[in-house]
Symmetry: C2
Subunit: 446 residues, 2 copies
């Protein structure tokens, strides 16, 4: 994936040109975080950092892009050297602190912090938010869907409902990170090494002279471990024919109908034919609620394919992430700042999040100023991932991040992980950070 430097809000560019023209190249820090959890979420799962860092490392303005900008009416008074010298040589040279992908996070806790010359740090706002909050939305939803499936594998199936093809690929990545076992999106397999899987569509079944002919042809090519889609015409008849056929399907997929009743009846038919090893795979507009309900009502399911819910986080399709200026260099030193927002808590200064662990369980977090010492037996969640525009180390393999994500979510208090009526996870704000914020507010010279 290549990124365009122009996939940003115009004001990021006008502000950068403004800082450049005014000679304001002092450093500033911005933090990206979410102010409030959406309804139906009790924790977030941070995701998208890898793409955010790739964006920062690759950020360049092509001559064609510079020529486009130069011709925009708004830029007519901007000095020519901005287009002739500054943009062609532009590189992101800042530092980034961030939490590891797959970490459960809470409101006000920074997902990442960018420290760079003011114009650079401002420029990347739009991209940092779009990249990180999108994947975080999807991973947060996926974590719930995986929990509801109670150990049964969940495969992400949502490419066709995603917000375009690229969103589908990134959603597949975030869903896998949060615990799905694979995706139907082949590009996500190609690009990220995620296991890909698929079955057959109703159109395959309809393209043959009979349903059994469609199954036989598929099995001939893909082996008896293949998955037969059995609801094209009549689910029970299809199951009975498979049972009689001698075909040893890996699984049957039911995509519609009364899933509870039909999955139980299909299970009986298969078992009676000695096909205990043939799994039942369920799909069709599933999410964490329908999966839980199906299981509660006794559906026989060995796995789930989930589409729209995973590729769009359909009940909370946007997180409302913000990227706020928290400190700025003044007279040679970094000064904490904060915007006064009536009714919205905001904290000045650069921050660290400390998670207190006890016997492998997360007890609560402390949001503190970055330089404060942390509590005993707490671990800091943010670490330096980019220094002067270069990644500090190679990103961990996605499979490792996925394994750690599952552990970290599991370590949250049970009552926080409830699908409904979940408890609020305790996040304290340090005394020092509150004082810093009060001082920054008091010094505001509007």
């Amino acid at each position: 994936m290549t990124f365009s430097a122009l996939t940003t809000d115009l004001y990021e560019l006008t502000m950068m040109a403004g800082y450049y023209t005014a000679g304001m190249d002092h450093r500033a820090s911005f933090e990206a975080y979410v102010r409030e959890l959406p309804a139906h979420r009790s924790y977030l799962v941070a995701a998208g950092l890898e793409q955010a860092l790739a964006y920062l490392e690759g950020l360049r303005f092509s001559q064609e892009q510079i020529d486009y900008l130069r011709r925009l009416p708004v830029f007519q008074r901007v000095p020519r050297r901005f287009f002739d010298d500054f943009l062609p040589a532009f590189r992101f040279e800042g530092d980034v602190w961030a939490v590891e992908e797959g970490t459960p996070m809470f409101p006000h806790e920074p997902l990442l912090r960018v420290t760079a010359p003011l114009g650079q740090a401002q420029l990347v706002e739009t991209a940092m938010l779009a990249i990180v909050t999108f994947q975080t939305s999807i991973a947060s939803k996926a974590s719930r869907v995986v929990a509801a499936s109670a150990g049964r594998p969940v495969i992400e199936f949502g490419a066709r409902r995603a917000h375009g093809l690229e969103a589908g690929v990134l959603a597949a990545r975030a869903a896998y990170l949060a615990g799905c076992v694979g995706t139907s999106d082949v590009e996500a397999g190609f690009r990220f090494g995620i296991p890909v899987s698929g079955t057959m569509a109703h159109s395959w079944v309809m393209a043959f002279a009979s349903e059994m002919e469609a199954f036989r042809q598929y099995a001939a090519l893909y082996g008896e471990k293949t998955v037969f889609l059995i609801d094209t015409y009549d689910t029970m008849k299809a199951a009975e024919r498979i049972a009689r056929s001698g075909l040893r399907a890996g699984a049957v997929r039911i995509d519609s109908g009364d899933i509870v009743a039909e999955s139980r009846a299909v299970r009986q038919v298969l078992d009676r034919a000695g096909l205990q090893a043939t799994d039942i795979f369920i799909s069709g507009d599933l999410d964490e609620y329908t999966i839980r309900s199906l299981l509660d009502r006794g559906a026989r399911a060995n796995g789930f394919g989930v589409g729209t819910a995973l590729s769009t986080s359909n009940d909370a399709p946007a997180l409302g992430g913000v990227y706020k200026l928290v400190e700025i260099e003044r007279d040679g030193r970094m000064a904490p700042v904060v915007k006064h927002s009536p009714g919205k808590a905001s904290y000045a200064g650069v921050k660290q999040v400390w998670r207190s662990m006890e016997a492998g369980r997360a007890r609560g977090d402390l949001l503190a100023e970055a330089a404060e010492p942390g509590p005993v037996a707490a671990m800091p969640l943010l670490s330096l991932v980019m220094k002067a525009g270069r990644r500090v180390e190679a990103p961990p393999p996605l499979g490792d991040l996925r394994a750690r994500c599952l552990e970290r979510v599991q370590a949250l208090p049970d009552e926080v992980r409830r699908l409904e009526g979940a408890a609020t996870y305790p996040v304290e704000v340090s005394e020092h950070l509150r004082r810093l914020t009060d001082e920054a507010l008091a010094s505001v010279r509007s």
Copy 2:
């Protein structure tokens, strides 16, 4: 934008390989449509065709992609010639019929139809749905937001909340198509020629020693037509200072607070200072409902910036579009087919939509078989846009599509365009199409 041939569901590739292996290269037609409108939508605005056709024209498998596929366990029994001969030479060679972008559409009406050798027509399912239903979601939402603004310009501001950077660019396109006057997304301007605009962020104001200093610096560079963001510290104080300053701002932007009261008070302050020409621009978590409410309650607004609602269609983030096999070649002729879906109406065969117009107003649509003659004074909505894999003509300029979209939406019955409690637009199904569907269902050999 380049597309990857692998941004598709694995089963599209396994089915294509299956058809290839079975020597099934007869032709088939698939139609993409939406079965039901989401809540809070009374019409759709078709969008995304241009990107869908670009995808089809550019569809190629690179050697690296082919090597990846060849190594997947699922493909181990597929004949080598599929990877050695078929995939390297693959081109989409089908025909596409589609409605023009910007056309208001209703459930069951095809947005596009693909007719191609079975494997090709199947392969492109995922991409056709992802590309067309995403932009259609956004255009449909944008049409409502534009209607609510009652003639005041709406600018799309949602890049940071979109499902990744590419989704933001395409959302900007769809929002413009449906009547927004511009976008903040510079890439959308660069790629599609959409007018771009922007103001300043709170961080700009905070980066200077005082708010007025921030405004003066900006105005010095961007002229007095610029937009000052006035809610960083105290909206009324900022307005009063601007009024006293002699700066002739193009507009002030209010992004938070009690918009109704503050916009009225700001208007008074500006007017008393002779700044009648300074507009008030409103932003901050707006959608069609908040805009209408602000205007109903007397807010003074000359324009709106709308983010999340436009870039994610947040109350209906996925349309649930389907891509269904509707006819398949049998014994040398195309035979209508349909999948029996209990509780879901589906119609066999390839279709045309006829829109009856009377005195410039749309009276209702007829969904008919493609070859049926249309009613008198009705116009067919689908036309041939791609023949044998090549576009029939250059796409119309986006600005022309936008102008026609506004006219066509305006031509819908008033009661269908209501934001709430809208009437259902009448769509009839032709007798012939019903009969064809019954015959296709009767002939199903499950």
